[in-house]
Symmetry: C2
Subunit: 354 residues, 2 copies
């Protein structure tokens, strides 16, 4: 919500885990050394992977993350370390990239080659550079079997903790995508879902960025319903879903609505064995950024309505314009035990970190 | 949520307004006398207007509303009067039909002719039969100017209180549709929005009815955002929107998210002059059915988080399977003053009834 100013001190005495940090390449050419032919040649005429449809009204990144050399914010390890890792004394920062081959609408083999190259680049240039980084496997879910092979290839890396699926127009709960969850479960990886550029409203493409940026949380709601009602958690009971940058204050309402419908209509989905809210509480976690700012008392009420203090994971979304500083993200009036869980313990437990 | 059993007594001592009652025709042939050529001839080969894509797992209507003659539930005035109007001593029941020319994807002139015929049939067979009925003007918003003419034609009827727009795939906030809001405002009519058959998730058509029935509330959220960010309430400041059968427990979360985004990004939509939550509280009301059933204390907390006790309107959705009985809809532990507002006063004030 707000940037911390540089004159502020350390946020709290709690350790921190940041579950959404966007490391970037300065240029896609940095991936070329990790690509084989024929895909490397494709890149001489690279046209992008479905860019965001909007010009950002106020710029997409923190102004202080713009680099002196004009490079992309988030692309310089030293700056990121200074602005994020050291400044807040972070125990772990989960690298989620900003990378959308998963939403390419054509040339899926190229998408898979890009994902693979990115993963190798990320491991070499980020993950192996700082022990505080934890990594995500990017895949091209357009080709499920290829995505599974990419998961197999990298799952054993000791600091790879999750598979990242951007939320776009693909309903990942549908059986077509199930092998990805099977592979993630088998390798004890979380499946992280982060907004992608191609999110739509039920009416298609909103006219304005502000409208799009508001309604994209509804794609997260639809995804949660889609995963639960298509039986992902019954089929793969150790599946863990981290929802990143989709908000969380909608969770109580959605749990109520799902439970109410399940009570009446469960005969249609007999493979769904438990109350939908049980799946939410067991299998889902929600990153806090961009945290909303009602009164602290109202926000605390909403967290209480979630029925568990274990569902929220702290995130900053560094280096983006709506970065949530650890110093200002959670209301100071939240109980210390809750802050400790959100800033650290919930992520530690969900990701099984030590 | 639950049907009242016939052994129960009267619900409360409060008067009632039911804001969502589905009067139906027993057969679409009942509209023929109200149609002119060439459209009347089209109906000899009527193929429907985009039916619901799902077989209803447990049947779409209350079992006790099935008529002995096999006719469509909601199609018999005497049964409706007995099961709803007299049983609960209703002061008003708002007729919303179950009628989807608004979502026809072709032959829009036929859609408009059907809407017009329906309106005439509804006025003659329902509205003029019982003083407790209040009526909705159905239109075909596919042709905005024609829709405006239909509003003009019927707006002066003393018991017509609103224009009904089904929520489907059309973003009614977009400027293309603004003349409808202009006409409604000029005639001091509410614009009611009710779910339509064609609601989609951000991923298209959900595989199951239960999934669809859960996610359709997200189309209401998207519509609220679409109306506000496209400046409908700044352009037509007396516009009033009644959202029917879309739920309400999502309203606090959406208000927070809209306000947060507005604080950062309002420069993109300079015609939006006030905080989005102000528009919600001033211009929107939400019908209660299908009310969810968390603990009464949790539901009361959520209503408090709406920041106003004037936003909810009672509705039953008669004669559908998920009918909310006035006897069981609101938690009995709700304060009497709140129950009185929801059951009666809020609708009376919003619809300017006496």
């Amino acid at each position: 919500m707000n940037l911390g100013s540089s004159t502020e001190g350390k946020h709290t005495t709690f350790p921190l885990i940041d579950t959404d940090v966007h490391e970037r390449f300065a240029s896609i050419e940095q991936l070329l050394p990790y690509m084989k032919e024929p895909f490397r040649s494709y890149m001489s005429n690279w046209t992008g992977w479905g860019e965001l449809k909007y010009t950002h009204p106020i710029g997409g990144s923190r102004l202080d993350a713009l680099l002196p050399n004009g490079a992309v914010p988030g692309s310089d390890y030293d700056v990121l370390r200074e602005q994020l890792l050291d400044r807040y004394d972070m125990k772990y920062a989960m690298l989620t990239g900003l990378f959308y081959p998963a939403t390419m609408e054509a040339q899926f083999e190229l998408a898979a080659a890009l994902a693979s190259a990115y993963n190798d680049w990320m491991i070499e240039h980020w993950l192996e550079r700082d022990e505080r980084f934890l990594g995500s496997i990017h895949v091209a879910p357009q080709m499920v079997e290829t995505a599974v092979r990419e998961i197999e290839r990298l799952a054993d890396h000791p600091r790879i903790v999750q598979v990242l699926l951007p939320i776009g127009t693909a309903p990942y709960g549908d059986p077509h995508y199930h092998p990805i969850f099977e592979a993630a479960e088998r390798h004890n990886l979380v499946v992280a879902m982060h907004q992608g550029n191609s999110v739509q409203s039920p009416f298609g493409t909103p006219r304005y960025y502000i409208e799009w940026h508001i309604v994209l949380s509804q794609a997260f709601m639809s995804m949660a319903v889609n995963l639960i009602m298509n039986g992902v958690f019954d089929k793969y009971p150790r599946t863990r879903i981290a929802m990143l940058e989709g908000g969380f204050s909608w969770v109580p309402s959605l749990m109520w609505r799902m439970d109410q419908n399940y009570k009446s209509l469960r005969m249609e989905v007999p493979w769904v064995k438990r109350m939908p809210s049980d799946y939410i509480k067991t299998h889902f976690r929600f990153a806090t950024q961009p945290i909303e700012d009602p009164s602290p008392a109202d926000m605390l009420k909403m967290v209480e309505l979630m029925g568990s203090d274990e569902l929220l994971l702290f995130s900053t979304d560094y280096p983006h314009w709506d970065f949530d500083s650890p110093e200002r993200s959670l209301p100071t009036s939240f109980p210390d035990s809750l802050k400790r869980k959100i800033f650290y313990e919930n992520a530690r437990d969900f990701y099984q970190l030590t």
